[in-house]
């Protein structure tokens, strides 16, 4: 049954949305959170195991110090208070993918509490997202349901459990209720998630690939008549794993809840899930008092002691944060705010920086990544990084242009060749025999032919009207199969019409 939806503009006029995000970030440690089992994405099922990660009788967890350091770094980046003493707690519930039938998480004494993250919005303004906590916990295994209609448990013949992921370290970043978002709720959530992703990558603590589940969010949305009212009942949409999905979930939930409230219906406190195929959220489990995880401090783990000295050590290792870096690069490359934002929105900052590092000029690098290459990515619906072209390739093309070996047209064809998987720019150039014609005699002949074939144009050029120059250049290019340099052609035409 389709949900009734209110028009978005009307919904945010009538109601004040409050959002909250609980983001799980999978850390890129070599080993699991509580044992030396190797962590690797996509390994053969049930091969990355120890007695501890399988929860065998007698096995005991021991904390991975690297994971704690990663958590401290993230805490510092999120301006959190880092607890001198934090504690792991058991979250008790039975589920086949949980080897111990309890998750080891943090409850009333998390490592990071009370911080914030400033995110930059499309108009350049800054919105401060308040952070409740960023705590450490271990992941569960993965169930695969066989024989059902769509991989769901309903109707499945049987299920398989892979415990490779069980015990992989996670940090869960929980925002406080984010108020004052109004009609920008989705934009703010998207900007927050992207900023968080950039920070996590800058810290090098997670691959932060949403499509691989390294980063996933639970999205909370509630509505209230006005900002002075208490919070409304919220829905919790679980495990949304794309930025667009998060933004759409928020917009959808605002519209859905507003329609219900308008009809005098109550909002159920429930978990929902985002369905990409229908672009809707669907109701899941209604939360009841029966959800009692019986948290208590894990007696197998001593309290985590983080000294001031250790925090200082971590501070000294902190890399430049994404916003500082952006401001620095913007200045270095001489870009406007708008140009910089285009780069950010295209997810091209790292790529352009690497291209510049590989020897290209910033303007050239930007032109390629936001132009030809972005168009190719959009056409294939993949990210820039997934295309078969590297910053080094782009820098090489730029070098060939600067050396006069390629003109614009040939350069575009070369890039297209690289994108088509034909190899490096040098290989593509060689394969197709791309080269700028430097034989002025051939060009002069082509120019003469073109002027002769277009007497009216020749007249105009002679009288000083340069507008139809393109016609001559086009004809020369056609004659030389694109291998002439446009600037050289212009020069020759000019000398001929003036003489």
């Amino acid at each position: 049954m389709a949900d009734k939806l209110m028009k978005f503009s009307e919904a945010v006029k009538k109601y004040d949305p409050v959002i909250g995000l609980e983001t799980h970030v999978e850390l890129s440690t070599n080993t699991k959170l509580f044992c030396p089992a190797h962590v690797e994405f996509g390994g053969e099922p049930n091969t990355q195991l120890t007695p501890v990660s399988l929860g065998l009788p007698g096995s005991l967890p021991v904390i991975n110090k690297t994971a704690v350091d990663y958590a401290i770094k993230l805490g510092l980046a999120l301006h959190c208070e880092i607890a001198e003493w934090s504690q792991f707690a058991r979250k008790n519930y039975f589920y086949p993918d949980m080897p111990r039938d309890y998750q080891i998480s943090q409850y009333d004494k998390p490592t990071n509490g009370n911080g914030y993250l400033d995110v930059e919005l499309d108009d350049g303004s800054i919105f401060r997202v308040p952070i409740e906590r960023a705590h450490i916990e271990d992941d569960a295994g993965k169930n695969t349901h066989i024989g059902g209609a769509d991989g769901r448990i309903e109707g499945a013949d049987h299920s398989l459990v892979d415990y490779n992921r069980a015990g992989v370290p996670l940090i869960e970043i929980v925002t406080k209720p984010i108020e004052g978002v109004g009609d920008r709720a989705a934009e703010i959530a998207g900007a927050y998630m992207r900023t968080l992703r950039d920070i996590v990558r800058a810290l090098n603590i997670s691959h932060a690939r949403m499509e691989q589940g390294n980063m996933r969010a639970d999205v909370n949305v509630s509505l209230r008549p006005s900002p002075s009212d208490p919070y409304g009942t919220r829905s919790e949409t679980k495990n949304v794993n794309s930025f667009r999905g998060i933004e759409k979930t928020i917009t959808y939930e605002i519209r859905r809840q507003a329609a219900r409230l308008d009809e005098g219906k109550e909002i159920l406190q429930e978990t929902r899930h985002w369905d990409e195929s229908t672009q809707t959220t669907a109701g899941g489990r209604v939360k009841t008092d029966a959800d009692d995880y019986r948290y208590f401090p894990d007696p197998d783990l001593v309290m985590l002691h983080i000294t001031k000295e250790h925090i200082e050590e971590m501070k000294a290792q902190m890399p430049e944060m994404p916003r500082e870096r952006r401001n620095r690069l913007k200045a270095e490359w001489g870009l406007t705010d708008l140009q910089m934002r285009d780069i950010i929105n295209a997810d091209a900052l790292d790529l352009i920086e690497e291209t510049v590092k590989a020897g290209a000029k910033a303007a050239g690098a930007r032109k390629w990544w936001l132009g030809e290459i972005s168009r190719a990515a959009n056409a294939k619906e993949v990210s820039l990084e997934e295309l078969p072209i590297t910053p080094a390739d782009v820098a090489e093309v730029e070098k060939l242009i600067a050396a006069g070996k390629l003109n614009d047209k040939l350069a575009k064809q070369t890039v297209a060749g690289v994108l088509a998987g034909e190899g490096t720019p040098a290989e593509v150039v060689k394969k197709h025999g791309y080269q700028v014609v430097e034989d002025t005699g051939a060009i002069e002949k082509a120019v003469d032919d073109a002027l002769a074939a277009n007497p009216d144009v020749a007249e105009k050029l002679k009288s000083g009207n340069m507008k139809p120059m393109g016609v001559i250049i086009g004809a020369v290019m056609k004659a030389t199969r694109g291998q002439a340099d446009a600037k050289a052609v212009t020069k020759i035409v000019m000398s001929k019409v003036k003489s």
Partner: protein, 511 residues
């Protein structure tokens, strides 16, 4: 008596000396014990599994090393066989915790203490019986068999480590390992006339000890002499990076302390009698044996004073909140998914994972285990947590403070190990509370994390052993070994030999 019978009646230290002097091989010792096991088991039932084949292979491997002179650096007990409580995982040897839910489970790894035992060349004779998941005080809650007390087979051996205590008491093994969560090493020690030690919490790695209540569990030695316990304590003790609660310090010098104690000089040792652990509820002859032993300590020069530990009476109640709470979580993993028993729901019941878990746990756990899981689940529930688990933790803090204050005044504390001697089978199973009350004197050490040990202090009027308990400050386990060894020597002097000289051993005599 045959030579073999003479041999098994030696202390582990004496056996070790004979091995070093090449008077006896590890194989001969192991065979002698396997022989006793075969004869004693029909009446004692101490073992769930006898691993004769691997024990003999381990003995031969040691003997080979010993012949080649490659035993340098091995512990003193090298080559001496040992029995292991079936709460400790042993690679390749079925480990069940005396529960049907783990029937047939063969661990793929060794507990840290087992690795150390193996490295010491000590053959493992087998796995001993216990109350299911170490939950009980009589070994009657084993899902497999009822272990008898060698002093009177109509009486329980105590629990949960009745198997290890009876095996050592009946000369089936010279030494054994136990686990002690609320007295499971010491109370069976008291009931069977053996020595049982619960080391400092964190002094011996728990890695590979099947968890009952993680904040209370501790592996420790079972033996017939204080020195044997000390020797085994040194083999198994020390820091283990696989156990986060393991204390990163050297093993306290317990062997030196035990040897020092055998000199029977306790001048300068201050002993505190715990006022709250005596009187009402304590059997008169238990108190009589206790007082006689205190007198002997004084005779050897110890200064004895009475010490009040005002919060000890609350320890039992708090323990029976904290322990089941941890049990309810620790035993969640036995769900039929990955190992052990799996019971599918009957036809007509949806064949879901949740139902499979429920049917498996219903069939696999015994009543006492279920009782504790239910109690603990309740105590941790939202709305009850603060009143139950929270309050119990506060009591625990007060007990820790009681110990700290007491040890400002004295070197060791003493009490009877248990208020009674071994009771008869079935006497207390109908009323769990009376069974729980028997743990009153042993529980404070677990709640406080301090080391404690029980040694035999003579016999009751019925002819059943009585236990005498020492407590020492945290990570100062040696402080109890010295007076314990001194008292053991004094008692032997008084009786003209060790307490087990009074033990009738028909299973040995028939040989």
């Amino acid at each position: 008596m045959t030579d073999a019978t003479e041999l098994v009646k030696l202390s582990a230290a004496e056996m070790a000396a004979k091995i070093r002097n090449k008077e006896v091989s590890s194989r001969e010792l192991t065979e002698a014990h396997l022989d006793v096991i075969e004869k004693a088991e029909p009446s004692i039932d101490a073992f769930l599994k006898v691993s004769a084949e691997t024990a003999l292979a381990e003995a031969d491997a040691f003997d080979k090393k010993n012949a080649a002179g490659e035993t340098e650096g091995l512990p003193e007990l090298a080559g001496v066989p040992i029995a292991i409580k079936d709460m400790i995982v042993t690679k390749g040897i079925e480990t069940t915790a005396a529960s049907k839910i783990l029937e047939g489970w063969v661990p793929p790894y060794d507990a840290t203490v087992i690795s150390k035992i193996k490295a010491a060349g000590m053959p493992i004779l087998g796995k001993t019986n216990l109350d299911e998941f170490a939950q009980g005080s009589s070994t009657e809650h084993s899902a497999y068999k009822t272990t008898k007390n060698p002093w009177n087979t109509e009486h329980v051996p105590g629990g949960s480590g009745g198997g290890s205590a009876s095996a050592v008491g009946a000369f089936e093994a010279p030494i054994a390992l136990g686990t002690d969560t609320g007295g499971s090493i010491r109370q069976p020690g008291a009931f069977t006339g053996t020595v049982g030690v619960k080391p400092t919490y964190g002094g011996v790695s728990r890695f590979g000890a099947i968890a009952m209540a993680s904040s209370l569990d501790q592996i420790g030695p079972v033996s017939r002499t204080v020195l044997d316990a000390a020797l085994l304590h040194e083999v198994i003790g020390g820091h283990d990076k696989r156990d986060s609660t393991s204390i990163p310090r050297e093993v306290p010098p317990v062997v030196a302390a035990a040897r020092e104690g055998l000199k029977m000089d306790l001048k300068g040792v201050k002993v505190g009698l715990i006022k709250e652990l005596g009187g009402e509820g304590f059997q008169p002859d238990v108190e009589a044996r206790f007082n006689e032993s205190v007198k002997l300590l004084e005779d050897m020069g110890a200064e004895v004073v009475e010490i009040s530990c005002p919060h000890f009476p609350a320890a039992l109640g708090a323990y029976y909140i904290i322990m089941p709470s941890e049990v309810s979580s620790n035993l969640a993993r036995y769900d039929g998914m990955r190992y052990g028993l799996r019971v599918m729901p009957p036809a007509g019941v949806p064949q879901t994972a949740a139902n499979m878990m429920a049917y498996t746990r219903e069939a696999g756990f015994g009543d006492e285990v279920k009782r504790r899981i239910i109690l603990g689940t309740y105590a941790l529930s939202a709305g009850y947590y603060d009143a139950w688990y929270g309050s119990a933790q506060k009591v625990r803090t007060l007990i820790i403070e009681d110990f700290a204050k007491a040890f400002e005044q004295v070197d060791v504390l003493v009490s009877p190990t248990a208020p009674t001697t071994a009771f008869k089978f079935g006497e207390k199973t109908a009323d769990p509370i009376t069974m729980y009350l028997g743990d009153v004197a042993t529980i404070p050490a677990n709640m406080g994390g301090v080391p404690a040990m029980s040694i035999p202090a003579g016999l009751s009027e019925e002819g059943l052993p009585v236990g005498f308990q020492f407590f020492a400050p945290q990570m100062q386990d040696e402080k109890m070994y010295k007076p314990a060894a001194a008292l053991e020597a004094a008692l032997e002097g008084k009786w003209g030999g060790p307490v087990w000289n009074s033990l009738k051993t028909p299973w040995l005599d028939e040989a």
